[in-house]
Amino acid sequence: MKTESRLEKVLASGALAVTSECGPPRGARPEKIKEKAELLRNCVDAINVTDNQTAMVRMSSWAACIIIKQMDLDPVFQMVTRDRNRLAMQADIIGAYSHGINTMLCISGDHPHFGDHPMAANVYDLDSVQLLQTAVKMREQGVFQGGKDIDNPPKMFVGAAANPFADPFELRVLRLAKKVRAGADFIQTQCIYNPDKFEQWMEGVRGKGLHEKVYILAGITPMKSAGMARYMKNRVPGMDVPDEVVKRMESVPKEKQPEEGIKIAVESIDRLKEVKGVSGFHIMAIEWEEKVSEIVERSGLMPRPEV
């Protein structure tokens, strides 16, 4: 094992891993993060904590991670490179690790344009690949990005994101290869609504042997309504929601649409379980954390392994 990460242990055991996520509150409401995290107890192996998601200010990811850790659950510290430079990012990695947080996810983050502070400066001192390199270098070489030694280096199990559906499609496997080369231990993908295209991407991934170098967790987001399906299709950049999925959601009465969304999620998991190279699932139930245990249960992924 490279780290003490529970997620690493589950993945190394060969079991399909399950992660989910919690968006921290937009205010000093620690009880909110506790409520959300409690809903995920015993049904996931680790809980991603988003970092100012959609470029809106929230409780800092590391602070929310500590709250989750204190509940004896396992947080995944998400870090975007949008909001702070390499000094602040490395400081936060050390700080989080000092509180027992041992798993993180390196992403570039949504552009401030999308959030409620579009006037903010965009930092991007590093990009997601360079942050990955930095976190891995801290662990493996015990040095900072700038080259100086670290006194007791943080040992993070380091993940990255991948969007198999964004353009240019032909570059998407190469971009993953780059993240693997940068040292990614695991990958969490964008929400999958187009499994055919995902499988096509996975074929490319296997073609390069990347599935043997990195654990890939397939992203699943249950849809609550036909409206959400249309929104995801038309408004969220880089999201691939085929017409038939929208039609399927529209084909049932409004009060039954949440159940239809869950069904689609469970069917997707069932199908993707069979795809060689898929090591688990990342279930992003946006403001719908209470449904995660049901999805995991219905997908036959309970109980979660003891490691």
Partner: protein, 222 residues
């Protein structure tokens, strides 16, 4: 070239309204090429200001001068005679020109009439786009001649983010995805493999992050 756009008329009026005599200084370089601060624009702004103040019952005396280059002290020296008979200078040059004038005439208020925008290139008549951020360590040789620092909204150095859609940037469909352009160009050059090479964390010292920059050419400096 350095591009600029004229400030809103109200802002310019507010700057010059306390004065009776102003020197309106244009520049024949970049701002002239992007049609914002050359001889012609100086003349237009001068008329517009005079009209405005005439309506208010005030005569604003305006001297129009367009220098060859406002960022060069040698040319700024040409203002020596005219500046004496002005209460303030209104410059239509980029920020470099405004500062050169302000540094030369310390006791004369100097106001910018334009907002300096970016280093860009002309796409077609009347359209300019940002092309360079002056990072001080050019990567165009490895990115197929397209700059990810100036042209990717997140200045990503290692390929497109997950929001690249049909060749466009997620923040605005009028913006090309820089990494789509880079990828297309690398393919055209037969250099697809290059996309897999990691571009290491950039040393921003050569950029503005290293403090205000200066070039000293020993062979030329006097």
């Amino acid at each position: 070239m350095i591009t600029a756009v004229r400030k809103p008329m109200e802002e310019i009026i507010a700057c010059v309204s306390p004065y009776d005599r102003i020197l309106l200084a244009g520049c024949n370089e970049c701002v002239s090429v992007c049609s914002v601060g050359g001889r012609k624009e100086v003349s237009l702004l001068s008329s517009a200001l005079q009209m405005h103040f005439l309506k208010q019952g005030k005569t604003l005396e305006i001297q129009e001068v367009t220098l060859e280059r406002q960022c060069d002290p040698e040319y700024v020296e040409e203002l020596v005679n005219s500046v004496d008979s002005a209460d303030a200078v209104l410059s239509m040059a980029c920020g470099c020109g405004v500062q050169t004038v302000a540094a030369r005439f310390r006791e004369k208020p100097v106001f910018p009439a334009v907002n300096t925008a970016f280093m860009g290139a002309s796409e077609r008549q009347g359209v300019w786009s940002e092309r360079c951020q002056g990072c001080g360590d050019c990567v165009l040789g490895i990115t197929g001649g397209i700059c990810p620092i100036a042209r990717c909204s997140k200045r990503l150095m290692n390929g497109p983010c997950g929001g690249s859609t049909k060749g466009k940037c997620e923040i605005d469909t009028d913006i090309d995805c820089a990494w789509q352009l880079i990828w297309d160009r690398l393919k055209a050059l037969g250099l697809e493999n290059r996309i897999e090479e990691i571009m290491e964390a950039k040393d921003w010292r050569t950029s503005r992050d290293g403090g205000p920059r200066k070039i000293v050419r020993e062979d030329l400096a006097s």
